[in-house]
């Protein structure tokens, strides 16, 4: 069913466009042009973020943070096997998907660990990436309380995920 949503939606937009005499071809060209400009303005920002994420993961800094946070996460009900996933989730979308896949291969798709991990990944976003992209084209670069609020909210979601998977 869900496979139809996207193509039908786009088709509907184009049909309505035709009916309202919108220059569909011209709009598409303008859209592609706009996306090039958009990419040019956001790419420098996410390049730096991705370099930082790679350094963070490979250098062992991530491992140290994991050691540090495991007791705290444990106290909040997040299993030790998922600490790394919770840390990497706000940093890298691909990274967290890859990690979830590793967990699936190791524990099986229906284990508690994997169900928890799936909910954590499915119910959250790549906070740092979203923040970087959304603020890349505007002048405002001081995000004040934004990042701490997002991270605490995501952590609350992860804690809720682990609790919910125990009963559901």
């Amino acid at each position: 069913m869900s496979a139809y949503i996207l193509p039908l939606f786009i088709l509907a937009v184009i049909v309505v466009g035709f009916c309202k005499r919108v220059p569909v071809y011209g709009s598409f060209v303008a859209g592609v042009k706009g996306s090039l400009e958009l990419l040019m303005s956001i790419m420098p920002y996410f390049t730096v973020i991705l370099i930082a994420v790679e350094l963070f993961a490979v250098s062992g800094l991530g491992g140290k943070l994991e050691e540090l946070l495991t007791p705290l996460f444990n106290a909040l009900g997040i299993p030790a096997e998922l600490t790394q996933l919770v840390i990497i989730r706000p940093l890298s979308g691909n990274g967290s998907i890859a990690m979830l896949q590793t967990l699936m291969d190791k524990y099986g798709a229906d284990s508690y660990i994997v169900r928890c991990g799936s909910v954590i990944v499915g119910a959250s976003e790549t906070t740092f990436y979203v923040a970087t992209i959304y603020f890349s084209t505007v002048k405002e670069k001081k995000l004040r309380y934004a990042i701490p609020v997002c991270l605490i909210a995501s952590l609350t979601g992860a804690v809720a995920a682990c609790a919910l998977c125990r009963v559901m």
């Binding site: 939606f9 800094l61 959304y134």
Partner: protein, 188 residues
Amino acid sequence: MLAGGLIFLTVTAPQDAFSVMLTGASNAVELALSLFAVYAVWLSVLEIMDKAGISKAVNRLFSPLWKKFFKGENDKALEYISLNFSANLLGMGSAATPMGIKAMEQMSKGGEKASDNMILFLVFNATSIQLIPATVIGMRAEAGSGNAADIILPSLIATLISTVTGVVLAKICAKISGGGKKLPLSKG
């Protein structure tokens, strides 16, 4: 994070430092290509939606709600905010991003510090508001799960909890900071 990671790596494995940075940068190139493809399609669709008046129609549906959350923003900003949320709810995250960027541009006043509304909008987007986590369900199905979709309900509740937490915290911080002078302590 960049400096921290680099210092750490220079101490532990100096020979790897440069290649790791290159890996990060080439990840960015890959991401850029796929983003370009996604944005090219969605910005085009958005262009048609704008011209055909569909954006306005979507906005009319949701604007009473968003006007409450984002006080003082103009109609164009609310329009993009409505589109961004609709795309997010439907799990079209790739479509939500370009619309979100446009919403931010509309809300921007050109100052140095992000406004409370801009941060609130980021919080909504960074805590995820999608109804069905399709990617993860697909992964579980492929891994041979007996009931791959049984995470829908817990995901929905978890994302609701995180979004509500985020919005409440953001509102509290907006109240406390007023002009925005100091960051609250982070435990994440």
